[in-house]
Symmetry: C2
Subunit: 321 residues, 2 copies
């Protein structure tokens, strides 16, 4: 059994190689570039953690883990193009560094590389693994599309936002865990509990991310505090405030979003606090987290084996609060 950090290191050692040919370097160097600028590798380590719940690590779990990380980076490249994001992990995004067309193609070829890694998996598990991977990949695309659709809408319901977040970010964590379980020979029940553990953990993480963007300690939070507010981003907090605030506060909030005054962040935070969106978000996060832990508890293996996954869950929930 390995701890979360031991598995991170094991994965990093295997993954930290050149994944692409050297020829046609105008295509493959940009693809390799994003893999080299780091990342927490949480998703691939989830594959390994879930796999080791059931048995010693199956070598195929490394292939699935690599595929998941490649897929994640493919989606980052394409999302950054769509979002016109200049920076990723403190470095230039692929499309800024190499141009949009090359970034688009580098993403495509990264996606193929994910499938190349999946195709190294033993035939007995291949079809099941592909099935889950394909469904998840489509869902991630749907989530990104919904996110873009919501930007154009005036209001988004809590349910719609939760669905979008689930598709855009949670299902990949959930599927990573289930893939590890499949390759560990887990039955359907255990697979399902791990999937739901990951899904709820992922949503809890997003609620926390939305919370920290507004109320986080600027010294500890990695991004600009108030960035979502400045960008009028629909977050759990904004969506709740628009539902829960008084008529006057709601009107003021909508006006602030139009006017963008210099003290916008301060004023919006005031409204969030007035309608207790901060306490509501903490409770919401806790609810998802509790649901996640309940599903982990229900996985039918000895509790001691679940310790590394518990560590991961706690690590994700205590970034800053």
């Amino acid at each position: 059994m390995h701890s979360f950090s031991a598995l991170s290191q094991l994965f990093e050692e295997k993954f930290n190689v050149r994944h692409f040919p050297t020829h046609t370097e105008s295509l493959y160097d940009p693809a390799q570039y994003i893999l080299g600028i780091g990342g927490k590798r949480i998703r691939p380590v989830c594959v390994l953690l879930a796999n080791e719940l059931f048995d010693e690590i199956n070598p195929d779990a490394y292939h699935a883990a690599a595929a998941i990380e490649l897929f994640h980076n493919f989606s980052l490249i394409h999302d950054d193009i769509m979002d016109k994001a200049p920076v990723r992990r403190g470095m230039q995004t692929v499309h800024v560094k190499y141009g949009e067309s090359t970034a688009l193609l580098a993403g495509d070829v990264m996606f193929v590389k994910a499938y190349e890694n999946l195709n190294k998996i033993q035939p007995a598990n291949l079809q099941k693994v592909l099935q889950l991977f394909n469904v998840t990949a489509s869902q991630v695309c749907e989530g990104q599309q919904l996110d873009m659709d919501f930007e154009k809408r005036d209001t988004v319901s809590f349910e719609d936002y939760e669905k979008m977040i689930t598709l855009k970010t949670s299902v990949l964590v959930a599927a990573s865990l289930q893939l590890g379980a499949i390759l560990g020979g887990a039955g359907g029940g255990n697979q399902n509990h791990l999937y739901k553990f990951g899904k709820n953990l992922g949503i809890a993480f997003q609620v926390q991310d939305d919370y920290l963007d507004a109320f986080g300690n600027p010294d500890k939070f990695g991004k600009q505090v108030g960035g979502d507010i400045l960008a009028n981003k629909k977050t759990f907090l904004l969506i709740h405030a628009l539902e829960a605030a008084s008529a006057t506060a709601k009107k003021e909030l909508l006006q602030l979003m139009i006017d963008n005054p210099a003290d916008k962040v301060e004023k919006v935070l005031g409204i969030f606090k007035e309608c207790k969106a901060d306490a509501w978000a903490k409770e919401l996060q806790q609810n998802y987290f509790t649901t996640a832990l309940k599903h982990l508890e229900d996985v039918a293996v000895l509790s001691v084996r679940k310790k590394p996954l518990m560590e991961l869950a706690e690590y994700l929930m205590v970034r800053e609060s």
Copy 2:
């Protein structure tokens, strides 16, 4: 045994359905849109034709054929974004109709759908099929990248251009044929000959396309005659002319590409004829075509079974001459 047109019809009947869910229609309607605007479906029919060379059609061949057509449309959506192409098959391109971000995602999700179709193939053949599909998909991306790289270069050698065309267009035809052969239980030798038949046929087709763009009958050729010349596109003709023309003619040609005078097409055609690029291209096309047919001949099945593939080859070579 079916003729090319009978198989086209069979494929079209199966393929002409909605491939995507109805929910998240803002993503899936654009993906479905491009599938509905037609196309000759040559690649998927190649899968079926090659499959029927060896036995009755394996139901898995339809899955592989659908995957190939979905992949082809994925690459069209993304290429049209990169090329800023406004029109495809006489209709608005996906990115013009729905926006670039949605088109990018619609392409991605089309790519996933290709893999979903491949995953319906019997486990005994799945790994081999995926292996060929993945290699081919990467090659198509490489070809598109090289094409973009060449646009920025002053000169491109014949060998480089041939390599780019092979990757960008021929390997998909070649792989379609080989996939059909794999699913028909063909041995490595027969697979290889079919691959090379497709590869050479694809290049012959591209030489013809370049030729017709310059020398075709405007009433019969589907595109604007002289379009490549106006766009300074590096074609087999231009590349040959820059190698074979006299020093004076070469200088004039390069100047025409800079100045873009009103009579540019006429003058460039004059230089092409002067250095016999037209006759050279016809001969080049014939050479690739002959090589293609030689490989078809070498496939170890009764000649009578090859008739539909011969029909296809001839159909592709007599568009207009």
